[in-house]
Structures are given as C-alpha cells and as structure tokens.
C-alpha cells in the first residue's frame, strides 16, 4: 500500500494554517488514511489504492481542508488553450499506442517538491499504471525543448540520447540492456522491432517511454515550466494518471495549458479537467447508511468531500466530481462520500432485526465429535498446514508421488504441494518433539485436498483424522483399540478391518478399514524405515481415516 510522509510544517503551508502532529493524526484517519507512524514533526500515512490523489501533499491537503470545513466544495481547474502539438506517428501504434500531454507554466518547485513529484509518479505507476504497463509518466523541463513534439517508434540501434543520470549518449538497445531502468522495464517494449520515443521539433529526445527520460529535460529546483507526457496502451488509464498529476501541479501553483495530440485519425486535447457528473438519490444514500439526512445535510457532507451537489429534482442530486477522483464508478461511491463527509465517528450502532436460527456446518460438527473422542482417549490435538512438500509427504513415508495439487509459484520448496494425507504432518510433529517426554499421543482432524476431475475446481477438499501413539511399548494392538474406539463412537458400524500392505507400515501389522466396499483408512505399526527417516527411536502406531463416509 502506498505511503506518504507529511512533514508538519510543510503540510501547514498547504492547508494555510498551523497544525500539530496530534491534530493531523487525529483527523487524517477519518479520510480513510491509516497512520503508520508519527514523529515529533511528521505523520506517515498509508492510503488506499483507490485514492492515489493522496500521493501528494496538495492532494491530502485538499481533502483535509474539506473534512475540517476550512475549504469545501468543488476545486475548479482551468486549462488554458496552449499551442504545443504532439504528432503521433503511426509507427508507435503497435508498441505503445497512446500519449497525452500537458504543459505547466510558472510553477515554483524546490528540492522537496521534486522528490515529492518522483514519489507521486511511482505511486501512479504502481496504482494505475500497473508497474508502467498500462500507463507511465514523464515529467520534463519544458524550456530546453521546442514544439511540435513527435511521439514515434525508432530503431533501437541507430537512435541515441543521454538518458537521465548518465553523461554520455547511449543507443536505445544499450539503454534496455545496460541501464537499470531499462533492465527493469524492457519487457514492456523489447518484443517490438522499434522502441517508443518522444522527440522535439529539433529531433532532441525528451523520453523513451516507458523506460526513462532524457538528461536534457531533467527537472531542477530552478525549473519553472514543465511538460508532462503519459503513455500507454490504455487511454483511460493514462487519462486518470494525467488528471491526478496535473491537478496536483495546478494546486502547487502552476498554470495548466492544453496540448493537441494529433493521431492519424483523430485529435485529442489534453488534459481534460472538466468535472464529471453523476446522480445521487437521497433515499438511496439514507437507506444504505441507515440515516435520515436531509437534502441540505447530504449536500453539505458532499461539499466537505470536495464534491459539488446541486438539486436536480425531487430527492435527486447532481454531483460534480473533480478530475482527480478517478475512483468514483457508481452512485454507491457517492454514498460513501456522504458517510465520510458526515463523519464515520457520528454513525451510531443499530442492529438488524432479522431473526435467524444458527446452524453449524455438519462437517465442522463431525470434526468436533472426533475431537471430543480423541481427547477422551488421551490424544493432544495438533494443527498443521495443508501446504507441504514431497520429501515429507512421500519420500520419508516410503511412498510414490502421485498427481497431487501443486503450486505454480511456491514461496519456498518447503510448501509446494497440498497434502493428501494428514499422517506425514504428524510424523514431522513427532520429529520436532523428540526432546519432549513420552508417551506422545497426537491427532489432527482437518482437511486434505485430492485431485478430482469431476468438480468445478478439479479438486476436492476432504475431512480426515489421523493419530499417532509413540512410546517404548506402542504396538498394533494399542492403535487398533484407539481406532476402533473412535469408529464405534462415530457410529461407523458397517466397517470391516482387513489385512493390507502399505509402504509406510510394517508388513503383517497393517490393516485397512473398509466401509460400504471402499477403503476409508489404514492403521498399523509404522515401518522402522519411516521412523528412522523422522529420526524417531520409539515404536509407533498410527491410523488415518477419511471421514467422508461418516458425514
């Protein structure tokens, strides 16, 4: 989740009044930001990915002033008609087809705001750009370059420029291979024969989207005029990124001028900072929130969230939404704005009157019956992960690996498959508890996952129980008595015990449990090799039963 550290003094410049860290920490959470950390002169907040406008001081300040009632209503943004043109070359349409631009004049920035701009860009690259795939931003010093600009695609070996942070020219191929940003983002363009490039009227390179800007247009604290480019395959995503960035720059004091983007088939004027309109029904808002707010109260609440509501008809408001609020998709999103503007802290608890009868799930109920019997028999419950590995499940148990549920992207080799039996987990528990006093009697009643082609998920979750008794005198007879006691109490009457062979158990001391003609479990004395594999020195008896038949 994105974070921003708000220095108290700097923040107070943006809200036009002094403020304490305590006040900031008290009120910021009511905007939906959570406090990560507070210091003597800063508050670090984590904000939700729907509110990327909180990635700048001015974005937070805007919302904060509204919530506090200092500055409410819709912030208006003026875009003056500018003269800059970007010509989009057909060559780029196969790689990264869209670009939008904006020019910002007379902005005062310092080293802090440059750092802030960079962080904001990174948050937008992450949140909307999906790591630059859908949208990536370039912020440039406008003065060294000359319009019109051309967004084109060039041959990676013959085109050259000095990338940001370097002193010598590199060709595009070298940048993809040798520059750290190239290595990080080359997968977005290196499959195409030509690389996207933004050049000015004199052929100077502004940037190589979405990889890196040129050194030529580096933004310094002395920079006063900016050029913004946003590129990507998704016009919607690049417009959202553009709007959040440009509104922040406008609130930082810049004046915004439009850019004409000329595609072979159409011309787009960007940025478009007009407020979007959406309807809100008073009754809908009150019903979802459980409130009885009047039209005026709702309009006030929305105004505190920097929206403007006007009366459209009986019980219906027209709501104007500022261009940085890219998260509002549906009327229901306005309902939440009403709640935030009204204040979550004012929402008094009520109870739904619905009378319902509770019901346990029959499988959980069965698991609890099993628990009761096993505990009565003196066994201690263990809880293990379903995720496990082949060595523990199969190799140490002297079994062959079958077609199990397997992860495509395991976090470690220790957890890469789903268990189809509980017993191997219990064996590992015994190995981990070698130094504890004996006898040890443990059980688990929990889930395993089998592959099952007939189901929607090609797999089936099943409840099993397994138990092990380990001590110097553990034997077949003891574990059989335990298993019989459990099954009798589960009313598994029509079971049959037959002699079977099982790789994990001692030959001649292994029994299968059958019910209704199918094998549901196994019990016996564990094979000495298995005990040895888990470095256990005492004999052990164990059983495992699939409980599906008992349900």
């Amino acid at each position: 989740m994105p974070v921003i550290t708000l220095d108290k003094d700097r923040f107070s410049q943006f809200i036009d009044r002094p403020i304490t860290v305590e006040e900031m920490a008290k009120w910021l959470p009511w905007l939906g930001a959570s406090i990560e950390e507070t210091g003597p002169d800063f508050v670090k907040i984590e904000f939700n990915p729907n509110r990327l406008d909180f990635s700048s001081y001015t974005g937070v300040a805007r919302a904060f002033c509204g919530l506090m009632g200092w500055k409410t209503g819709l912030p208006e943004y003026v875009v003056k008609r500018g003269s800059i043109v970007i010509n989009v070359d057909e060559a780029v349409s196969d790689v990264r087809p869209y670009i939008l631009g904006a020019a910002i004049y007379n902005i005062k920035i310092d080293a802090d705001s440059i750092a802030e701009l960079m962080e904001m860009q990174e948050d937008l690259h992450w949140g909307i750009g999906r790591d630059r795939r859908k949208a990536s931003i370039g912020v440039h010093n406008l003065d060294p370059v000359e319009a019109p600009f051309t967004y084109t695609a060039r041959d990676p070996e013959t085109s050259r420029f000095i990338p940001l942070g370097r002193t010598t020219e590199m060709n595009l191929k070298e940048i993809l291979e040798a520059h750290d940003k190239g290595a990080a983002y080359r997968h977005l363009v290196d499959w195409a024969p030509k690389c996207p490039l933004l050049v000015d009227g004199k052929g100077q390179v502004l940037s190589m989207p979405p990889i890196i800007n040129g050194e030529l247009t580096r933004v310094e604290p002395t920079t006063r005029n900016l050029f913004i480019d946003v590129t990507g395959p998704d016009l919607n995503a690049i417009a959202k990124s553009m709007n959040i960035l440009v509104t922040a720059l406008a609130d930082m004091g810049g004046s915004v001028e439009s850019v004409q983007v000329k595609y072979p088939t159409q011309t787009i004027t960007s940025p478009d900072l007009k407020a979007e309109q959406m309807k809100l029904r008073i009754r809908y808002a009150n019903r979802l929130l459980g409130l009885k707010l009047s039209e005026t109260q709702i309009m006030q609440a929305l105004s505190k969230c920097r929206l403007r509501a006007t009366r459209l008809g009986r019980g219906v408001l027209n709501v104007s939404i500022p261009p940085y609020r890219t998260d509002i998709l549906h009327e229901v999103d306005l309902v939440e704005e009403v709640a935030i503007g009204y204040g979550y802290y004012q929402l008094k608890p009520t109870r739904s009157a619905a009378l319902t009868r509770s019901k346990q799930h029959r499988i959980q109920q069965l698991a609890n019956h099993v628990r009761q019997v096993m505990i009565g028999l003196g066994f201690t419950e263990v809880m293990n992960f379903i995720l496990t590995n082949e060595a523990n499940e199969y190799v140490k148990m002297r079994k062959r690996v079958g077609r199990v549920v397997r992860l495509a992207n395991p976090v470690s080799s220790e957890y890469c498959i789903a268990r189809e039996n509980l017993l191997p987990s219990l064996m590992r528990n015994l190995a981990d508890n070698k130094h504890e006093t004996y006898p040890q009697r443990i059980f688990e009643v929990s889930d395993i996952i089998d592959v099952d082609k007939r189901t929607e998920t090609r797999s089936k979750r099943k409840l099993h129980v397994a138990a092990v008794s380990i001590h110097s005198k553990a034997n077949f007879t003891e574990i059989k008595s335990y298993a019989e006691a459990l099954m009798t109490n589960l009313d598994l009457q029509k079971r049959e015990i037959i002699a079977v062979k099982h790789a994990s158990f001692l030959d001649g001391r292994t029994a299968g449990i059958q019910a209704d003609g199918s094998m549901i479990g196994v019990l016996g004395e564990l094979h000495p090799e298995v005990l040895n594999n888990f470095e256990l020195e005492n004999p052990a008896g164990a059983f495992e039963i699939n409980l599906e038949k008992a349900i």
Partner: protein
C-alpha cells in the same frame, strides 16, 4: 492394620491430558459467538477458480492482488470450470462496462481464460459469494472460520496459510449502521469492549470501513477487520436483490493476543510442551 504414611507433599508423576490445540480453542470461541448470534456456518473449496476468488468480487483481471506475487496459482490442476453462463456473462459485462448496474465498470476486455485459472483462495469471500448466489431469499446470515492463502514468505509476522473469520448479513434494508452495531456485539462477545470504525477501501465493498479495537493489556489499538456493504457490481450478476453486510479479519491476530504470543509461526509449530502447558481456559 497400620498404613504407612505417605509424604503427601512429594510431587506425583506428571501426566498430560489429551487436549484441544490452542488455536482451535479460539476458533471454537469465534464460532460460538457467531452461532449465538444466529449465523449459519458455511464451508467451501480451498482451491477456487479465479472467477469466484476475484472476478465475482469485481476485482479487475489486472488487479495487483491477482498477481503471482500475492496469490498462489496452481500448476496442477491448472484450470477449472466456470459456473453457469448467465453468471459468467453478467460478470464479464459488469467488468467491461458496468452492465445494468449503473457503474462505469473497469473498461477492459474480460477474459474467460483468466477466470478459469485455479488458485488457493486468498479469502473465504470466494465461498461467501458462491453461497449467496445460491441462497438469495432474505434474511441470510452466514459465517466461516477457515483457511486462506497468501503468497507470503514466512516470518514472525506472516504466514502463507492462515485462518480468516468472515461473516455476512443479507436482508431487506440492512444498513452500514447495522453493520457497525453487529460488529460491536460480535467483538464484545470476544472480550473486546472498545471498538472504533474508520473509512477504508476494499474492491468489493462500498461503503467500506475498518474496525480497530483497544486492547487494555497492551495499551494499544489493533486492526481487527475490514468490512462494508457489497457493491452493486458484485450483487447484480448473481441476481442478489438486497444489501449484503460483510466483514472479514484474520484469526491469528486474535489468537496471538489471547495467548500472548508474538511470533505467529509458533502457533503452528505444534511444540508439545507449549500445547501441554497452555491452560485450556484463559
């Protein structure tokens, strides 16, 4: 006859009773709280199609939470089956342009292939929405305390496999304030008296909130759960007509608090002396 007198103060041999695992004991407490409040327990597959885990909950197919970095995808079996066509088509359109919900949607081309991919469920909400799609007559009050998965490296704070507590109420005219009231009752049953509710964000609820609780023993506030009302874009494709209040949170945090454990890995290490030592009532 004369009995030899015993030294009654001498220690007897130690024996250990069979007992429930400490985490299980807390699961039972949570289940009881739900059951006392009239909820029905639900249970579903741990392996889910991306459809039920993400698409049905209006999470766009390029949402960061769906990436391999966060979610366990299966190498085998790889793909599952999509549910009935009407569900799939309505979900697809809702993602693409909002369908009839009045939403803008996410403005992209929805892929059925992506929705068929099998994952280890990242939340029990995949089971909840599936259940709601099949139980549409109000009132519905359902809960689960069950396993979920996150592609997370294990450390003292994180597990890849953990338990989630989840509850929902679907009924005519239920409200955000009802949800807050229900949450207060629920956590009161678990011994947390001071609970606060803040604005928050989840892709499938709106309005959304998160609850924090004050823990007097630690003199601190902890995050308890996320909550909200299911978005119309989640309900409409399945023909669910009434608002659904939902909340979900991790079980382990509660367990650690109750047991005074600060390394989450200890909970599932099954150290026998730890289990044997723990009083069953605390």
């Amino acid at each position: 006859m004369k009995l030899r007198k015993f030294n009654v103060t001498a220690p007897g041999p130690i024996i250990h009773p069979g007992k429930v695992h400490p985490v299980q004991a807390v699961i039972q407490l949570v289940r009881e709280a739900f059951l006392e409040m009239g909820f029905t327990e639900i249970r579903g597959s741990i392996v889910q199609t991306a459809f039920w885990n993400f698409d049905a909950l209006f999470q766009p197919q390029d949402h960061p939470a769906r990436e391999m970095m966060d979610t366990f995808y299966l190498a085998h079996p790889k793909k599952g089956r999509l549910p009935r066509r009407s569900f799939v088509e309505a979900t697809a359109k809702t993602h693409e342009n909002g369908w009839t919900t009045g939403s803008k949607g996410w403005q992209y081309k929805w892929s059925p292939q992506e929705a068929k991919r099998l994952v280890l469920r990242t939340h029990t909400t995949s089971v909840t929405i599936h259940y709601l799609a099949e139980h549409k007559t109000p009132p519905v009050k359902a809960f689960s305390v069950d396993r979920i998965y996150r592609n997370e490296k294990l450390d003292y704070k994180h597990l890849a496999e953990l338990f989630q507590i989840e509850g929902i109420i679907m009924d005519k005219n239920v409200t955000l304030r009802d949800l807050i009231g229900t949450m207060r009752d629920f956590y009161l049953k678990l011994g947390l008296e001071k609970v606060e509710f803040w604005p928050s964000y989840f892709p499938y609820t709106e309005p959304s909130a998160q609850a924090t609780a004050y823990v007097p023993e630690l003199n601190t506030w902890i995050e308890l759960c996320g909550m909200g009302i299911f978005r119309p874009e989640v309900l409409a494709p399945f023909g669910i007509k009434h608002p659904v209040l939902a909340w979900g949170g991790g079980l382990e945090r509660l367990v650690m608090l109750k047991l005074g454990v600060d390394d989450i890995r200890l909970l599932y290490r099954n150290n026998l002396s730890w289990i044997r030592r723990h009083p069953i009532c605390q």
